[in-house]
């Protein structure tokens, strides 16, 4: 367990989310191990990033924390509330504490509702404050995210992508949550607009003491906004460290390959070939190999890696799951 558990806003222990399984119409259905034993904790007021490629389970982890997918196993604690054990009305009431901002600002806003209504909806559903108080809160939220109060009367299609993501943030902020889960919040935006939203998110965190769980495939964005970062591969965390350590001293071969794959404005063309390259695609989360899940693509894998799965071992706040790390061979 890393981080100081006493000040943790969010603690996730042994989280598993499996899809499928059981018997279907055509016989036994395969089990997809989307998230397979993930543990981490996020101190209050900090940003915890999860990076990984498609199929790594980063979004499913986010949805599980939000209780938007059924948990197969594990425990999610937010402050003093064990979110993973809540059901029905108690869960609905607790949702006030945690909100989500989605990737696609075009499909995550109801096109038939006015912007003001969209932001107000959580307040209405949670019955927070009187009508007048809710209206005042919405006006305040519009100001906080850099929209003008008169824009409350507009429909989503009248906003640009960046403005829509501001609406998504305002909606998430409306219940004054402790935790905001951000699932690729800037991936759908143009680069110039990304900077506006990232700066806004950083400012809101400073002003409101928010805790972010930030999901992204963009390492540059993650490095910029996150304090602590976990790298996921096929449903598991393979490496985790604070932002300076992870990028200065990556240890897992997958992390190294991921960092090497990012095109750099500093890198000269000649450097490219010298860098670590991965071949092929990740194996399917249905038929998982017995050993390390990365072994089939790993440039330094040994026979042992194909037989036994390496545990996630912590050394001085830096967690890594690789047989070759720390044994003096890497």
């Amino acid at each position: 367990m890393s981080g100081d558990a006493r000040n943790s806003a969010l603690t996730v222990e042994g989280l598993k989310v499996h899809f499928g399984g059981g018997r279907g119409l055509l016989g036994a259905r395969p089990t997809v191990h989307a998230v397979d034993g993930v543990s981490f904790s996020v101190p209050a007021g900090r940003t915890f990033g999860i990076v990984g490629e498609s199929g790594s389970g980063k979004t499913t982890t986010a949805l599980a924390v939000m209780r938007l997918v059924p948990l197969t196993d594990g425990r999610v604690t937010l402050g003093d509330t064990v979110v993973s054990e809540l059901e029905g009305e108690a869960l609905r009431a607790a949702r006030r504490q945690f909100q989500i901002v989605f990737q696609d600002p075009y499909s995550s806003l109801d096109p038939r509702k006015r912007a003001g209504e969209i932001v107000r909806e959580p307040l209405d559903l949670m019955r927070i404050g009187t009508r007048a108080e809710r209206d005042a809160k919405v006006a305040e939220l519009f100001g906080q995210v850099g929209l003008r109060p008169e824009q409350r009367a507009l429909f989503p299609h009248q906003f640009s992508g960046g403005q829509r993501q501001r609406l998504g943030l305002a909606r998430a902020l409306s219940t004054e949550p402790d935790l905001i889960v951000c699932d690729e919040p800037v991936s759908a935006l143009d680069v110039a607009i990304q900077a506006q939203i990232l700066n806004l998110m950083a400012r809101l965190q400073r002003e409101l003491g928010l805790t972010y769980l930030f999901i992204s495939h963009d390492l540059g964005v993650v490095q910029h906004i996150c304090d602590e970062i976990a790298v996921m591969y096929l449903g598991q965390i393979v490496e985790q460290a604070d932002r300076v350590t992870l990028f200065r001293d990556p240890q897992h071969p997958y992390t190294k390959a991921l960092l090497a794959a990012v095109p750099s404005v500093h890198g000269a063309r000649a450097d490219r070939r010298a860098r670590l390259r991965l071949k092929g695609d990740p194996p399917s989360p249905v038929n998982l190999p017995p050993g390390c899940r990365f072994a089939s693509r790993c440039p330094v894998a040994e026979p042992r890696c194909h037989r036994e799965a390496p545990p996630l071992v912590e050394r001085g706040g830096h967690r890594c799951a690789c047989w070759l790390v720390g044994s003096g061979e890497n």
Binding site: E53, S54, S160, G162, D190, V191, A192, I193, Q194, A195, Q196, L198, N199, A202, H217, L219, G220, V221, Q223, H224, I225, R243, V244, F247, R248, A257, L258, L259, A260, A261, V262, P263, S264, V265, H266, G267, R269, R272, R273, R277, L278, K279, G280, D281
Partner: protein
């Protein structure tokens, strides 16, 4: 310097929209030589994809119209060619790969058939010879077990494999120019790196000229020889990649480089806020007389609102369209 293989000179494309006429491309001039990679960068709506469609003669007409300018491929004028001749050029002389490999492939044909189709069409090859070429192309784009994969349908392949198939289709007739429109946007970082390596190998081995359309300055830095930055339908800066990236003259280019959080091997412990380009891209129906970037520009002077700055050479082949940079 050798004569450009593809020479685009002052093309203008207008679109009629409900909000009035929009000038989608405003005197765009670009060229690319054999074996060269030209990057075109810009945000959505800047005209980079429309430039690609113009080269292919695929501007939807109506509502679009190529009103002036010339596009020459090895000296041959493409503007005004009848559709039948353009059909011969598309796929044979100029190949194109699109952003979404899933929606650009035919789901009911095997990938082998789809590659063979263009070989049969353009070279009149027999079905058997065309299929042999298809397998050879799949091998060239490094798809393992190419002869088996040729019999696979698109849904049986991963995103990276599908993009390799798209590249194989585009290159099957050994075109002289390859236009790659955001070829890796839908792909994961490690797969993107594989595709970039592949494009670079093909350009080196076959001497293909590549026009790489992207929003990612990093991709341009790694792949391209020269770069053109587009904004609101115009080229605002163009030159060798090294010069433009290390010494950008146009405020928009500077903003585009600075607003992206670039991955640092040794990140500083204290983070400064990202530089923002305020505001949004203007509507093309509503551009006014001056520089289209002026309303968002920090260095704007009075002249910027009154007159469009021409694209002019600064030094060493580096061109910029900015009144302030010129002063």
């Amino acid at each position: 310097m050798s004569a450009p293989l593809l020479d685009i000179d002052g093309i203008v494309v207008d679109f009629s929209t409900r909000a009035g006429d929009a000038r989608v491309l405003d005197h765009v001039s670009l060229d690319v030589a054999e074996g060269e990679i030209l990057g075109i960068v810009g945000e959505s709506g800047c005209g980079k994809s429309m430039t690609a469609l113009s080269i292919m003669g695929l501007v939807p007409q109506p509502p679009g119209r190529l009103t002036s300018g010339s596009i020459r491929l090895a000296g041959r004028e493409l503007v005004g060619l009848p559709e039948s001749e353009l059909c011969d050029i598309r796929g044979k002389e100029i190949g194109m790969i699109f952003q979404e490999p899933m929606s650009s492939l035919n789901p009911v044909l095997t990938v082998g058939e789809q590659i063979a189709e263009s070989v049969r069409l353009h070279e009149g090859a027999s079905p058997r010879a065309a299929m042999a070429r298809a397998v050879e192309m799949l091998r060239a784009v490094e798809i393992p077990e190419a002869d088996l994969r040729a019999k696979a349908y698109p849904h049986q392949l991963s995103g990276g494999m599908r993009q390799r198939v798209m590249i194989a289709i585009a290159l099957a007739c050994r075109p002289r120019v390859l236009i790659a429109d955001e070829p890796t946007t839908a792909l994961d970082a490690t797969v993107q790196a594989q595709i970039f390596d592949l494009l670079q190998d093909l350009q080196r081995d076959m001497g293909t000229a590549i026009v790489l359309i992207t929003h990612d300055m990093g991709a341009v830095a790694e792949l391209a020889d020269r770069v053109a930055v587009m904004y609101a339908g115009r080229v605002v800066e163009k030159g060798a990649v090294g010069t433009v990236l290390s010494d950008p003259r146009h405020p928009y280019t500077r903003g585009l480089i600075a607003c992206v959080p670039h991955l640092e091997p040794d990140p500083p412990a204290v983070r400064a806020p990202l530089l923002e380009i305020p505001g949004v891209v203007p509507a093309l129906t509503d551009l006014g007389r001056g520089c289209a970037f002026a309303p968002r520009c920090g260095s704007r002077i009075a002249r910027c609102d009154a007159e469009k700055p021409p694209l002019e050479a600064m030094d060493g082949g580096h061109l910029t369209a900015c009144w302030v940079a010129r002063a």
